[in-house]
């Protein structure tokens, strides 16, 4: 158990380290990289001495552009460790961390609520489809669900915007809450937040619950035929007990694995959803910064999205042994790898294809 947690922890830290390194090399060392671009831009403006230029760059990126690359890299790592990601190019009065810290809770709320809703709805629908496999209703449901899981979320977002904010002005077009309510624990504020969050969440859930339903159906169907289910039936256990403790728990296992994988996909999707609904989350700022060539903010947003995904993944990994006790014991885990992983029919292709 301890070894398992340690393994996941080390992997998480390595990933964060790799992403930090990647962001350093992309911003500093690519040909025509943003830092060199800023330097030449400042030089073009004229009227600045060499030292002033260096100081400006240092203020934005937190680095001395003239020092050796290795030293810059160490300096960058040190800065990141201290939580200093520089300042946004377009708004040097604040820091990258401050901008993102304000945006992150909104993204976490939208992604978290959507993930939970679509997971619960999807699993319920999937289990129902598996239970009544041959009925007409289940067939229609399968078609509908496959259709929905194939539709890109950003198109649903545009459609919702077009109908519900363009033609019928039922929902607001942007922001996280109205300007006329005071932020705080009062009813108006909460209602306003819900009102603004409703459309993004709907856009997420509509497009992602289908994938869960299909995965759950496949998983439940493969469990239905298992020998231990037949054994439980022949022992005369009630349908309810079999469904809950034999089918439910076992068919949930692949779903939980999938949950971990889909967290990254959901955060990726937030880039589109937040931009179209103009919802002030991390994804929104990331696209804004890309379009304004604000690379320090862009890398900060990317770094933060990655760290969030890695941390939530780690949390799901911690959850996993609770659901599957075999994980905690390495010997049993090896057997599980041999039996489960080599079975292609239990592999679930994530909603939205292979770009997760």
């Amino acid at each position: 158990m301890v070894k398992y947690i340690l393994q996941r922890l080390v992997l998480s830290l390595v990933i964060i380290y790799i992403v930090v390194t990647l962001s350093f090399f992309m911003v500093r060392l690519m040909p025509g990289n943003p830092m060199a671009a800023l330097e030449s831009q400042l030089r073009m403006q004229g009227g600045l001495t060499e030292i002033e230029i260096q100081n400006r760059i240092n203020a934005i990126y937190g680095l001395q552009p003239n020092s050796p690359v290795g030293q810059q890299y160490l300096q960058y790592l040190g800065n990141v460790l201290r939580g200093d990601l520089g300042r946004p190019l377009t708004n040097p009065g604040t820091t990258v961390v401050a901008v993102i810290a304000e945006a992150l809770p909104w993204t976490l709320m939208i992604v978290g609520v959507s993930l939970l809703l679509s997971f619960i709805i999807g699993c319920a629908v999937g289990q129902a489809m598996a239970a009544h496999q041959s009925s007409v209703g289940a067939r229609i449901m399968t078609l509908t669900v496959s259709f929905l899981s194939a539709v890109p979320s950003y198109l649903v977002a545009i459609l919702l915007l077009y109908v519900l904010t363009g033609i019928y002005r039922v929902f607001p077009t942007g922001g996280a809450y109205s300007v006329d309510v005071a932020p705080g624990p009062n009813l108006d504020y909460v209602l306003s937040v819900l009102h603004h969050a409703a459309l993004p969440i709907v856009a997420y859930v509509v497009t992602s619950f289908g994938g869960w339903a299909l995965g759950m159906k496949g998983s439940a169907v493969s469990v239905l035929g298992a020998e231990y289910v037949r054994a439980a039936e022949s022992r005369g256990l009630s349908d309810r007990v079999i469904t809950r403790s034999y089918i439910g728990r076992n068919s949930m296992l692949p779903m939980i694995t999938q949950l971990a994988l889909s967290i990254g996909f959901m955060f990726g999707g937030s880039v589109f959803i937040e931009t179209y609904f103009q919802y002030p989350g991390v994804g929104y700022y990331m696209i804004q910064s890309v379009n304004q060539r604000d690379y320090s903010l862009m890398m900060g947003a990317f770094l933060l999205i990655t760290v969030t995904v890695v941390v939530t993944n780690f949390l799901v990994d911690l959850l996993y042994p609770l659901i599957d006790p075999r994980i905690a014991r390495p010997g049993a885990r090896k057997r599980r790898d041999d039996t489960v992983d080599t079975d292609p029919s239990t592999d679930v292709i994530p909603a939205g294809g292979t770009i997760a």
Partner: protein, 283 residues
């Protein structure tokens, strides 16, 4: 080709999959031959902007008075080219890495799988966006490579577990006793046995790549030049299509083109799944 017969037998009984396959075929034909039959008027005439559908312009016109239908036909080719290229890159890397790692095993396998874990965990879309912000993606192949930067990892992991189970089979042992080279082992012995799996993943990779690339064009992150569906939506949105009702065909037609193609791919790949996975057929 026995699986081809299988495919036809399944398709005959699964209407949704048959329609999906036909639609995919039509899109491929449009991508290849469309631009030779349909021409986009270079002439821009603002007095003809936002016309409703007519025999001349089947889906009406855009803000510059150019036909929407013609743009969709012409926009099919770039989208399909990048989608297929990205899928080829994804599948090639995924299969080679997966087979190699699964067959060789040991330390190499462990090392490769840790790298795969890293790529599986890093959120793909943000990485793609960051990369295309720094790299010039005007070349379709470069764009395809950027799009497949994390997509190969899932396939590699799946192929590896297939290779692991193949490793202990008799024909691999026979080949080992004959002393075949590593290339022969991976290319001639193992590869044909994971073929079906690869075919399905190829289709899924195309849909994934189309999802991501249209998204990039829509957000204006990939360079805007020429005509494709993402750029059409981007321009429509930029011209305030959300808040006027006369540009409804301009905004919704490219969206419909994408949705129809994506749904068709999913239904068609489901049929492939049943062909290659006989256990699913029994259900």
């Amino acid at each position: 080709m026995s699986w081809f017969k299988d495919l036809w037998r399944i398709l005959r009984h699964d209407i949704a999959a048959l329609i999906g396959g036909v639609i995919v075929l039509i899109y491929v034909l449009v991508a290849i031959f469309g631009p030779t039959f349909v021409h986009l008027d270079q002439e821009q005439d603002p007095t003809k902007a936002y016309l409703p559908p007519s025999p001349q312009h089947w889906l009406g016109t855009d803000a510059l008075g150019q036909g929407v239908f013609e743009q969709i036909i012409i926009g099919t080719r770039p989208i399909m080219i990048v989608g297929v290229l990205a899928a080829v890159v994804t599948v090639a890397i995924g299969v080679i890495v997966g087979l190699w790692s699964g067959y060789v095993g040991g330390i190499t396998d462990q090392a490769i799988m840790r790298v795969t874990d890293v790529f599986l965990t890093i959120p793909g879309l943000p990485l793609i966006i960051v990369l295309s912000a720094v790299i010039r993606t005007t070349n379709p192949f470069v764009l395809a490579c950027v799009l497949s930067i994390t997509a190969w990892a899932g396939l590699a992991r799946a192929i590896r577990s297939q290779a692991l189970s193949l490793r202990s089979s008799d024909f691999v042992e026979a080949a080992t006793l004959q002393g075949v080279s590593l290339n022969n082992m991976i290319g001639r012995q193992l590869l044909p046995n994971v073929g079906p799996y690869v075919a399905i993943h190829f289709l899924m990779a195309i849909t994934g790549a189309i999802y991501a690339q249209v998204g990039l064009f829509m957000l204006g992150i990939a360079p805007i030049s020429g005509t494709n569906w993402g750029i059409m939506i981007n321009l429509a949105m930029a011209q305030g299509a959300l808040y006027t009702t006369d540009s409804v065909f301009y905004l919704l037609s490219p969206m419909a083109a994408i949705v129809i193609l994506q749904v068709a791919f999913v239904f068609f790949s489901r049929a492939l799944d049943t062909v290659f996975n006989p256990r699913l057929r029994v259900q």
